[in-house]
Subunit: 214 residues, 2 copies
DNA sequence: CCTACCATACCGTCTTCGGGGTATTTTTTA
DNA sequence: TAAAAAATACCCCGAAGACGGTATGGTAGG
């Protein structure tokens, strides 16, 4: 019997438990092997160099630093490596960014095992895999981010998106650049957010965001 | 050979992938079995009734609704059930709440597999398991240096104190009033904090504070 | 005694934020 | 199709923060 070709996968995610658990999940697949796991963005490049993976599964939120930028950096150095971004947040903008960055997949962490394995095999097979449930979110008010607080507080899609960016530490100007808006518009959204949440300071906003996992 | 006693575990977490992965991780343990997984808080009680688990692993952030409250509700209905809360955030406040709610464990998601298994076995064995890396600061205001971050970053007592007040959402003026300083002095401390942490914005500071449980 | 460090305090300048408006276009929904 | 909601954008102004200095009194350690 011919030896089955095995694909090496590198995990990059600062949630150790998730990482470990994923590892054990993938170990059940005979044709997939974990060649490493990394918890910090700063260790990533080194790990890629050492383990030369075929595929990287990477969280988009790597403690402050942007997973997409890291992914871009990796593919520019190692063009044969394929990368799937994992994220908790259902944001078409992030999906678009991922696609535009030339990465190969985008999957929500609340996807099922089946979806994950299919995405992995698709991407290893040379195609891309972008979670369709993200781009085709039919009614934003129904369940835009899988979170209930948004509808409870009547937050719109745009507002939640901007909260997330404020939480990341971006200024109005930077947010405007990132999502292609006028800084004035960002200010308007921000005022509405403050009104809806009944707050008046960035600090309160960041605490709200973290509390609600934005 | 006597049949090994097997403990039934119920997973409650809205991150499906994490859930699945955890499942596969735990399946490697012969004495632990997953009796169910639930993604929404609203399904939890029903699942507990149906599968009567010995132990519940539960995310503290269940899409908007509070995992601690849910846990409290469960133990009041099913007093023999034991519950470990999982969370991404290193907040002594949450740990305390968990403990006061009469729940049995608190574990960070960036803990390792070993910690998880030990926590599970401890809690099943009748003791509680509260992540010491969170609670290790028994008196945060008294001794912020018990935590490594303060000494690691060369933060002084005053600086840690001011970080906490900034996190609370106070302005320089309010902080000055609170601890009887000139607002200008607060600004100076603030500059030094920014320098030591390598940051430049309040938002980053708040995130640092929450991450380190200040 | 000298050095290092901490806590204290002030000054000036520039940027960003907060809060008050108003208004247009697009999308959604009733 | 009309009304409502969301997203876009601009104006002004005052408050607060960010960042560059400088300086002084106290205290601990070599």
């Amino acid at each position: 019997m011919l030896p089955e070709p095995v694909s090496r996968i590198l995990l990059i995610d600062d949630h150790r438990l998730f990482n470990d658990a994923l590892k054990s999940l993938l170990n059940e697949q005979p044709d997939l092997t974990i060649c490493g796991q990394v918890f910090k963005a700063s260790d990533a490049i080194h790990a890629v160099h050492r383990s030369s993976p075929h595929l990287i599964l990477m969280d988009i939120n790597l403690q402050g630093s942007n997973g997409i930028d890291l992914g871009k950096a990796i593919v520019s150095d190692y063009p044969t490596v394929r990368i799937i971004m994992l994220t908790m947040y259902n944001q078409p903008k992030l999906l678009d960014e991922t696609r535009r960055a030339g990465l190969h997949g985008y999957l929500l962490k609340d996807a099922g095992t089946t979806e994950l394995l299919r995405a992995i095999r698709d991407v290893l097979g040379g195609t891309t895999s972008f979670d369709t449930s993200v781009s085709s979110s039919p009614t934003p008010t129904d369940d835009p981010f899988g979170d209930r607080f948004a509808s409870r507080l009547n937050l719109t899609f745009r507002e939640v998106e901007i909260i997330a960016l404020i939480r990341e530490g971006l200024s109005n100007e930077q947010i405007a650049d990132r999502i292609h808006l006028s800084p004035e518009t960002v200010k308007t959204h921000r005022k509405n957010i403050h009104f809806k949440l009944g707050i008046s300071k960035v600090t309160e906003l960041v605490q709200f965001a973290i509390k609600n996992g934005i």
